[in-house]
């Protein structure tokens, strides 16, 4: 005979303990209200630890150094450093070093030399993030400089120009804006980023007089004036100017970049892929126009 449900329940109840406050569960949905804490985070220490100057957060006012003379006041005002952090820097490379690079086959003098070649030697480093704007070719070792080169630097002085041109070489001073410098200083990294080659922007106002000066062989100077100045400099320094028109390497020596161009043989807007060994050129007329102008 099957026992009924309530009978079973009653028999169970007989053995179960009595219902009391100590064993009943709260009503469904009941949430015990938390006690109200004192302060913003319930009276805790706000992450400042226990006692002491740190807990009280008694920070000194900025610049105060517990009765010492504050560091920022311990030196007098030095206005000659005004704008120092914004000045363009050209890390130096001497003609002697350049000659050594050529002699040790770090640089091929049979091809035009620019920042790419110099950086690829691994002996010269520039960092565009530190306001480095390229090579300053210095005249150290100018007397023993014998190479005939077509070199493009970012800063050069008169004796350096004379030393290069005396050997039948040519020199140009060219400005590159920081984005182009990033591409020039680490070409592999730049090409692997898949970015199209940027166009070179114009130099800032305080540099334009240098880069348009035919005496400094600026890349924006009139070529006729430059050839005239070559002659003038030869007379000033007392050497006979070798005729580069009759040179077998005439084309190499007179190869120049367009003011918008940053790599020899590559135009702005092109994408170069090293793996597939291909060059991709933009076909959109708007893009073409942008990269041209």
């Amino acid at each position: 005979m099957a026992t009924r449900g309530y009978e079973k329940a009653l028999s169970m109840l007989k053995t179960l303990p009595r219902v009391g406050l100590f064993n009943i569960a709260p009503n469904p949905g009941f949430v015990k209200p938390s006690k109200r804490g004192r302060g913003q985070h319930g009276g805790d220490k706000h992450g400042a630890g226990n006692k002491g100057s740190k807990a009280r957060q008694n920070y000194m006012r900025t610049g105060y150094e517990t009765s010492l003379r504050p560091y920022y006041l311990s030196f007098t005002h030095e206005p000659y450093y005004l704008g120092h952090h914004l000045k363009r820097q050209y890390p130096p490379l001497s003609l002697g070093q350049l000659q050594l690079m050529i002699d040790t086959d770090r640089i091929n003098a049979e091809k035009p030399i620019d920042l790419v070649q110099i950086c690829n030697t691994g002996l010269y480093k520039i960092n565009p993030q530190c306001k480095h704007y390229g090579v300053h070719l210095t005249d150290e070792g100018a007397d023993s400089f014998k190479a005939k080169v077509n070199i493009e630097v970012q800063w050069a002085t008169e004796p350096v120009i004379a030393a290069v041109e005396r050997n039948g070489g040519t020199i140009t001073t060219a400005f590159f804006d920081p984005p182009s410098l990033f591409a020039l200083t680490n070409v592999k990294k730049f090409l692997e980023s898949g970015e199209p080659i940027p166009k070179r922007m114009i130099p800032p106002e305080d540099a334009i007089s240098y880069y348009t000066d035919p005496k400094m062989r600026g890349y924006l100077a009139d070529p006729d004036q430059v050839s005239w100045e070559r002659l003038v400099l030869a007379q000033k320094y007392g050497y006979s100017l070798p005729k580069i028109e009759e040179d077998p390497n005439y084309e190499m020596l007179t190869l120049r970049k367009d003011p918008r161009q940053i790599f020899y043989g590559l135009e702005p807007g092109w994408v170069v892929n090293l793996i597939d060994r291909i060059i991709l050129k933009p076909t959109d007329p708007e893009l073409q126009e942008y990269y041209k102008g």
Binding site: E205, G269, V271, D276, E286, L287
Partner: protein
């Protein structure tokens, strides 16, 4: 992977007993074997029934797997070996332009990326153009012209200043003398004032007839009074002087008139005499 066939035979193929196997540098596989190469996320290919030709390569793959003790994730190992990192794009960054550009730059067409992502979109191009318009508002010629003008202005300013200095140098001697004279007069005045004061103090001291502290109230008062007296005296003297002067002037005037009258009389006499003579 054929390169490694000779190397793999040197090692026992049993997996459990061989223990540690030193890893070899893995060459980049040719394009066709990318999918089946180890490291790529494709475990399903291993489970498939291998063809007899592929049997050898599968074995090699297993060996390579054992050799690799780098504990790199497959996608990281791929990056290190310059293989396209993963087949399926799941993460949000997989769909960014920057990532896809880099994929194409690093792996070429094997990455499966359309190279058109490399160039800026229409909106990006407009943005670039606007940036250039703001950052480089002038052309090279215009910038050169502006710089030239600026330099000229600076030179002009210098020239003007030089001219001004040259003009000032001419009158410098005169101005210098004037200044020195003024200075001398000032010095003399100061000296006189000092002398007056010392005299005053001395007089007062005589008046008291004994050495008195200069800071004493009585002494100070006396000095003040004395100064007042002296000033009054001076004033009086000046007045007297003025009066004397005026008197003298008056006398001189009187004298002059007298002289005139006398001259007139003499002239009259002379005239009368000449008439008589005629």
């Amino acid at each position: 992977m054929d390169k490694f066939s000779c190397i793999t035979r040197l090692f026992p193929t049993g997996t459990s007993d061989c223990g540690r196997i030193f890893g070899f540098r893995i060459c980049r596989p040719s394009g066709s074997s990318i999918g089946s190469c180890r490291g790529v996320k494709s475990s399903s290919t291993l489970e498939e029934e291998p063809l007899p030709e592929e049997n050898n390569t599968l074995e090699e793959d297993n060996v390579q797997k054992l050799r690799d003790i780098s504990r790199l994730k497959p996608w990281h190992r791929n990056i290190a070996n310059r293989i396209v990192p993963s087949e399926e794009k799941t993460q949000p960054f997989h769909f960014t332009t920057l990532y896809n550009k880099r994929l194409f730059g690093r792996y070429g067409y094997a990455s499966g990326v359309n190279p058109s992502v490399c160039w800026p979109t229409k909106a990006q191009l407009d943005d670039k153009k606007e940036y250039e318009r703001v950052a480089y508002p002038y052309s090279i010629l215009e910038v050169a012209e502006r710089e030239k003008l600026k330099n000229e202005e600076k030179e002009c300013e210098l020239f003007e200043r030089d001219a001004k200095v040259a003009a000032n140098v001419k009158s410098m001697q005169k101005l210098k003398e004037e200044y020195l004279k003024k200075k001398e007069i000032k010095r003399q005045e100061a000296e006189a004032a000092k002398a007056f004061r010392t005299r005053l103090i001395e007089e007062v001291r005589l008046h008291f007839n004994y050495t008195v502290n200069e800071r004493e109230e009585q002494f100070k008062l006396e000095v003040k009074e004395r100064a007042k007296q002296l000033k009054e005296k001076e004033k009086k003297d000046r007045k007297l002087n003025k009066k004397e002067k005026q008197a003298l002037e008056k006398a001189a005037k009187f004298e002059r008139e007298k002289e005139k009258l006398r001259e007139a009389e003499e002239a009259k006499k002379l005239a009368e005499q000449s008439l008589k003579d005629d």
